[in-house]
């Protein structure tokens, strides 16, 4: 499975410096949001989806595996965190931990099943598994079906950070996002990441070099699923609810769209893509179902003419890796 990335097209000099500059710029930009007039709720929501898209991109952009069921990790972690916070009354940090742990277990189980098939079969299996979970959550009593879990207390993180204050919540979400982002960056640039890339480029060759590629893909799946779960747990504090929309397969489609728009296999692409798509949904909400049509059109345009995505095109133009 080959994804069009800059690595496959041309081999630019490794440009850690460029990536660092962009990272610092991104951090400064995001850290200054509360001082501007921008609606912080919108940015927080976008950050959660950006983290989800980054986690998804770890799997497809670097492992070549198109998961069409990443919503299941988002939704599962969301439900578990929400339940832990509201029913068990756990503090925020433990609530997040419960959600992440749930996503971790789920990714082991689903990864074990799905990693056995490759290519589009893998995509279909992940899609079917997430739909299976959708129906389970629809019927399970603790999720409250169509209503979802609502009115989740935000509480005090570590006993000091009052998450009901928007600014504090914003910085907590930002720190969570940056932490996840750096972890993914670290994974990509580790020997493990290099093996993943080689599997993406040519799995048969990686096998012949002695790598047990299934284990690498399995581990990548677990990492990606767990991080996607982390995004889901953070999202609970922002939205203060956990509902079926987060598990529905159209959410998985949106994650794919975000990554595709930003640039598959680029580090910053999913972040840009998430902001673009969330902004689009925010501002086009009054158009009703036209949003679906527009999203579909973006899919078609991206696949036909714009396969590198926004960041991919920019990076390609300047011959940098971003």
């Amino acid at each position: 499975m080959t994804v069009v990335t800059d690595d496959t097209l041309k081999a630019p000099p490794r440009a850690m410096r460029d990536e660092m500059i962009v990272f610092v710029a991104m951090t400064l930009l995001l850290a200054s949001v509360p001082f501007t007039g921008i609606y912080p709720f919108f940015v927080m929501q976008a950050l959660c989806f950006a983290l989800l898209a980054c986690a998804f991109n770890l799997l497809i952009g670097y492992g070549g595996l198109l998961s069409f069921g990443h919503a299941m990790f988002l939704g599962t972690a969301g439900y578990c965190s929400a339940h832990a916070l509201k029913v068990w009354g756990l503090p925020p940090e433990l609530g997040i931990l419960v959600g992440v742990a749930a996503a971790f277990v789920l990714s082991i189980v689903t990864g074990y099943v799905s990693i056995r098939r490759q290519g589009i079969y893998f995509s279909m299996i992940t899609l079917a598994l997430s739909q299976l979970l959708y129906f389970i959550y629809l019927q399970a009593p603790f999720t409250h079906g169509e209503d979802g879990i609502q009115g989740i207390p935000q509480g005090r993180m570590f006993g000091v950070l009052d998450l009901s204050k928007p600014t504090i919540l914003y910085y907590v979400v930002l720190v969570g996002f940056l932490g996840g982002f750096l972890l993914i960056y670290r994974i990509i640039n580790s020997p493990f990441g290099e093996v993943l890339k080689s599997i993406r480029e040519n799995e048969q060759r990686a096998i012949s070099l002695g790598y047990r590629t299934d284990q690498y893909k399995f581990l990548a799946f677990i990492l990606s699923g767990t991080l996607a779960g982390f995004a889901g747990s953070l999202k609970v504090f922002v939205a203060q609810n956990a509902s079926l929309t987060d598990v529905h397969w159209s959410m998985s489609g949106e994650v794919v769209l975000m990554t595709l728009v930003g640039g598959l296999g680029t580090i910053f692409g999913p972040v840009v893509g998430a902001f673009v798509i969330i902004a689009m949904q925010q501002y086009l909400a009054s158009f009703g179902q036209w949003v679906t049509v527009i999203q579909g059109a973006i899919f078609v345009i991206c696949v036909l003419t714009f396969r590198r995505g926004v960041v991919g095109e920019i990076a390609h133009y300047f011959r940098r890796s971003l």
Partner: protein, 287 residues
């Protein structure tokens, strides 16, 4: 007992749709190497075209059964010529994403114009009523759906496995360059194959219109179950798709009778079990 037979019949009908849809997917996958995510949307279009033919043109069900697949098939061929063909040689993944985008556009447009609620489509007079089989009451239309789709499935199987045209098709799947060297227009064959697969989906849509209502999202939920069916059966053989489709429909129907809570999930659970035992699917070749 009555309820059991009724659920078995419902299962057989759902199985007919699964079989027709996964058969179309298999045909398309064989030639184009694309998992046609737009299949559910095209199935929905089939039902809508039948609805328009009846309400705008006064064209009845029987003609719709013929015309709707042709119209939607032509639409599919246009899609193939204008978009899908540009993906030849690229990864499978892009075909999946492109057809997903097409599905979103089509479904979104229909939702805009017709809302999300269903439009009724009457059962044709000839197929109204039912008969008493002694052990159960069989609505004639439902029996007709099962038998008709079985015939269509077997005809498609015959066309692909037993005729000369089918032989070209299978050869072109294996080695398009060589088949081209024999003077056969492979790109045209690909377009026609896509049209055929799409036509099968639209036919399923027309069949389903009188049973389920005509809704913009009628294909969206169905297609994921069909994907699970495809994973269970594998797409190695045409006959495999047909048998798996019907069998899973029946199993789903039985679950609805014995343990209704699991009826939504049984196909997916089966998928997991099959994958654990036989990762290639029941009739599949290695991907």
């Amino acid at each position: 007992m009555q309820a059991l037979y009724a659920q078995l019949l419902v299962g057989l009908i759902n199985g007919s749709f699964y079989a027709l849809l996964s058969l179309g997917l298999a045909v398309i996958f064989g030639m184009l190497n694309i998992i046609n995510f737009a299949h559910g949307a095209l199935y929905m279009m089939g039902a809508f075209v039948a609805y328009f033919l009846l309400n705008l043109g006064g064209i009845n069900y029987w003609w719709a059964l013929l015309i709707a697949p042709v119209i939607v098939g032509i639409f599919g061929m246009i899609l193939e010529r204008t978009m899908l063909q540009w993906l030849t040689g690229l990864d499978h993944l892009y075909g999946l994403l492109l057809t997903f985008g097409i599905a979103l556009i089509v479904q979104g447009l229909f939702q805009n114009y017709f809302g999300s609620s269903g439009l009724p489509y009457a059962i044709p007079d000839e197929l109204k009523g039912g008969m008493n089989l002694g052990f159960m009451f069989l609505p004639i239309y439902r029996g007709w759906v099962v038998i008709f789709s079985l015939v269509v499935c077997l005809a498609t199987w015959f066309l692909i496995e037993k005729t000369r045209l089918g032989a070209y098709l299978r050869a072109a799947t294996e080695n398009p360059t060589l088949v081209r060297a024999f003077g056969i227009n492979v790109p045209r064959m690909i377009t026609l194959t896509y049209g055929l697969g799409v036509g099968l989906a639209a036919l399923a849509g027309v069949l389903s219109a009188p049973i389920n209502q005509v809704r913009p999202l009628m294909g969206a939920d169905l297609i994921i179950v069909v994907f699970a069916v495809v994973v269970i059966g594998g797409m190695g053989s045409i006959m495999g798709s047909i048998i798996t489709g019907f069998a899973l429909g029946v199993i789903e129907g039985l679950t609805k009778y014995f343990y209704p809570e699991a009826s939504n999930t049984v196909v997916f659970v089966l998928m997991v079990l099959v994958l654990l035992v036989k990762p290639t699917g029941l009739t599949g070749r290695a991907a």
